[in-house]
Symmetry: C2
Subunit: 327 residues, 2 copies
């Protein structure tokens, strides 16, 4: 930067102003600074900026790349952060690097807040971090004190799925759950409640799963082993619905003629023409925006009370659901 300043014949401070788009430099100076920078191949040094600035304006994002819906959210965090004047630093949760380490890295790089997307964090570890830095968790497994949460009203989403199927005339509606995974408990409870409300309590049938494709495939095998299939299945997420759907197809079961299937997440998977899954939509862009907003409220507006932000999902009806066979 001093090279640029020397070349233009002004002080470093002025060059700094220009690069930060701050007022206080004439249009002509700006022009000359940019030109000199171009000629010298100058690029601002993030390490030095980070060190010197009072605020880093960086949002740390902890994520896993395994769930398609999480990928959508990560993508959506970028524009949301920029809107509020923040940068994004990524830290991947991978097998060879614990969550602890990933968080430490974000903190060492001066992230002012941490947004956690779809990890199975221990409430214990999280609470320790939340003491020092605002933490926003998206679709968490469990609640932790001091942490903001952005999640969808999962019970509501499943209720919409049951309503839709009941309206089509289904009665034997099973649920493939997600065990201890994020949101699974509420989805399971929502399923039970909705079934009861429709007077279908006796048809309640829950198969255990864990949101993976294989657990969907496993459930399909179990269903096939029984004399009679349910006429509809609500899966805990799209991935397990995918396993369920394809395994049934391979066994010669037609969807939706023989069995209707509903997924959850409305991920890219659900939208594929050959999957074409009726699914409960959680809008990634909205989730990302609210998560960033929650962080910004703590950072810029001084909020200290925890927030629990609940979004209402919507059912997207596609080709995997239809009326049951007339039997």
């Amino acid at each position: 930067m001093s090279d640029v300043a020397a070349r233009v014949g002004v002080s470093q401070a002025l060059v700094s102003l220009v690069f930060r788009n701050q007022p206080g430099a004439s249009a002509e100076t700006r022009e000359r600074v940019f030109q000199a920078a171009e000629e010298l191949g100058y690029r601002p040094d993030a390490a030095a900026q980070l060190l010197r600035r009072t605020r880093s304006r960086q949002l740390g994002v902890l994520f896993t790349m395994r769930h398609p819906h999480d990928v959508d959210i990560v993508e959506a965090v970028y524009p949301a952060a920029r809107k509020h004047g923040y940068n994004v630093v990524l830290s991947a949760m991978v097998a060879t690097r614990g969550e602890r380490q990933a968080v430490e890295e974000l903190l060492a790089l001066r992230s002012e807040a941490i947004i956690i997307i779809g990890t199975e964090s221990s409430a214990h570890e999280l609470a320790a971090v939340a003491g020092q830095t605002p933490v926003v968790e998206i679709n968490p497994t469990a609640r932790a004190a001091g942490v903001d949460v952005v999640r969808t009203a999962d019970g509501n989403g499943v209720r919409q799925a049951v309503d839709h199927l009941a309206e089509l005339g289904h009665r034997a509606i099973a649920h493939l759950d997600g065990g201890v995974m994020p949101g699974a408990g509420e989805r399971r409870r929502g399923y039970r409640a909705a079934m009861r409300r429709h007077g279908l309590a006796e048809h309640i049938q829950i198969h255990s799963g864990d949101y993976t494709e294989e657990s969907g495939a496993q459930a399909a095998r179990e269903l096939l082993a029984h004399d009679e299939l349910p006429t509809a299945v609500i899966a805990g997420n799209d991935r397990s619905a995918h396993g369920l759907l394809t395994t049934l197809l391979r066994a010669g079961v037609r969807v939706p003629e023989d069995v209707s299937i509903v997924g959850y997440d409305d991920s890219q998977l659900a939208r594929l023409s050959f999957i074409d899954l009726t699914s409960v939509r959680q809008d990634a862009a909205e989730v990302a925006e609210l998560a960033v907003q929650a962080a910004v409220e703590r950072l810029d507006d001084g909020r200290t009370a925890d927030r629990d932000i609940v979004l209402n999902p919507t059912l997207v009806v596609r080709g995997s659901t239809g009326p049951p066979r007339a039997s």
Copy 2:
């Protein structure tokens, strides 16, 4: 850090040594430093380290999260980098953020080299970056000067697939290609060459695709519109094989009884029990290790000549391929 030093009653320099595991501090001092750090909740500041250190020892990784195989590689980069004493900085290529910007960010954070995973970079832009910093591209679309490349011998992989199918007795073996996507050209050429070598030139049949699930589904529809299906299809990657497979299944075609299908990448998708795709394996861990190695050779060993590292893939036979119907 000065707090820690003051607390222990030593100089900052000594504390620094201890934290970097450098020799030159007594065991007792180390112990006391760590304890004081713990008590004060001290954490090294990455920005300051980055600024002051002669070398950042950071490897910038540019990636997209859309292809399952790329995710595997990103994961594998972490241990590979650590092995060579480097850290990893991530920068996602997402729609709202051009490649240019993503690279700038990595460079601003002092990445000493850039590893690019599965993006469709313009050779032009890349060459400019490669002038300043070592760049390693994994499975690139096109070659650029000054850039190291790690890729698999795609022609070889497809040849193995054709050999496998021919051995099973297939003759009408079609190829679903990947258009201009990374490796697609070589896979297409490999298919043609292998078909000719088996005397099956007249059966050469190429369907155009772009590695997406939908292009696989589209190809399936085209195949179904014809009188006769080929007895086997080699897809350009697992995603398009997935679209192809499931669309055929939905149309009542049995796999592998009616049609055998081979994928490419051996991604997690291929391994799912209900997909169970014979696929060409590119070992993610090996690819990552070689990419890191290439960067390290430039950085630490002073290599300046470009390297083109070609890995031989292996065919993993699963349930999607079998002998053709006796006709």
